[in-house]
Amino acid sequence: MADPMKIRAKMEGDKTVVRVLMSHEMETGQRKDSAGKIIPAHFITEVTATCNGKTVLSAQWGTSISKNPYLQFQFSGAKAGDKISINWVDNGGDKRSDEATIAA
């Protein structure tokens, strides 16, 4: 299991702004180690954000997202105190799910 995500969700007017910092190597499969062997690709492929049982964002990622990926998005229809949950799955089948409360 990977390290937890840092999730900040905050109301700005009637919109909820969500900032997520994930902890992941995001190995491209292009790099070589000191012995000249290619380091196999290891990266997050799918990210889903849900709030009040509704999907508010889904994303498919490739290898060219930076290491320890950062994601920011905003949506309407939620209020302070609601929970937002972020899930990701990587190409190795590893997954992580974290939850945060939307701040006022």
Binding site: S58, A59, Q60, S64, I65, K67
Partner: protein, 163 residues
């Protein structure tokens, strides 16, 4: 003897079913290319493996997208010092934006990300990309069933894919 025969039969069956499944994928891709992007479930392997902007756009189902200026790059820099961490923001002003894809022309694999935006979510996405070198970055925006594209050159002083 029976052992040998069984083995052959098994291999033949395996080979047959693999071909059939592959065929189904191809057929699905040919008949409804746009469905691939709409389906949030399932990673779009073909699109992510594609090389070159045109091929990737096609793999995402958007043949010959129209150029658009109804979007902004937010705080995306024009010159990035470190290609491993390039902050990219895309804000679409097109009504009914359904998805935003980010493509980097000179990366080994062109497609970086596809964001699917359900109703209620603003077409305003920020993330960080790796750029192998100075390159055009494209935002492929799907709005109201149509595809639009916008581009910006981001100069990189230090590559993001070096060892």
């Amino acid at each position: 003897m029976t052992q040998v025969i069984n083995q052959d039969r098994r291999q033949a069956l395996k080979a047959g079913s693999a071909t059939a499944i592959f065929g189904m994928f191809v057929a699905a891709g040919l008949v409804k290319p746009s469905a691939a992007l709409a389906q949030a479930a399932g990673w779009n392997q073909a699109a992510f493996a594609a090389k070159g902007v045109d091929v990737t756009v096609k793999a995402l189902g958007g043949a010959s997208p129209a150029q658009t200026k109804d979007m902004s790059w937010g705080s995306t820099p024009e010159i990035a010092e470190n290609g491993a961490v390039v902050p990219v923001t895309v804000v679409s002003k097109l009504p009914k934006t359904e998805s935003i894809a980010l493509l980097v022309e000179k990366n080994p694999n062109t497609l970086s990300a596809v964001f699917t935006l359900p109703a209620g979510t603003d077409p305003n996405i920020a993330t960080r990309l790796k750029l192998a070198e100075t390159s055009n970055v494209y935002a492929l925006i799907k709005a109201d069933g149509k595809y639009y594209v916008a581009q910006r050159e981001i100069k990189v002083t230090l590559g993001g894919c070096g060892g």
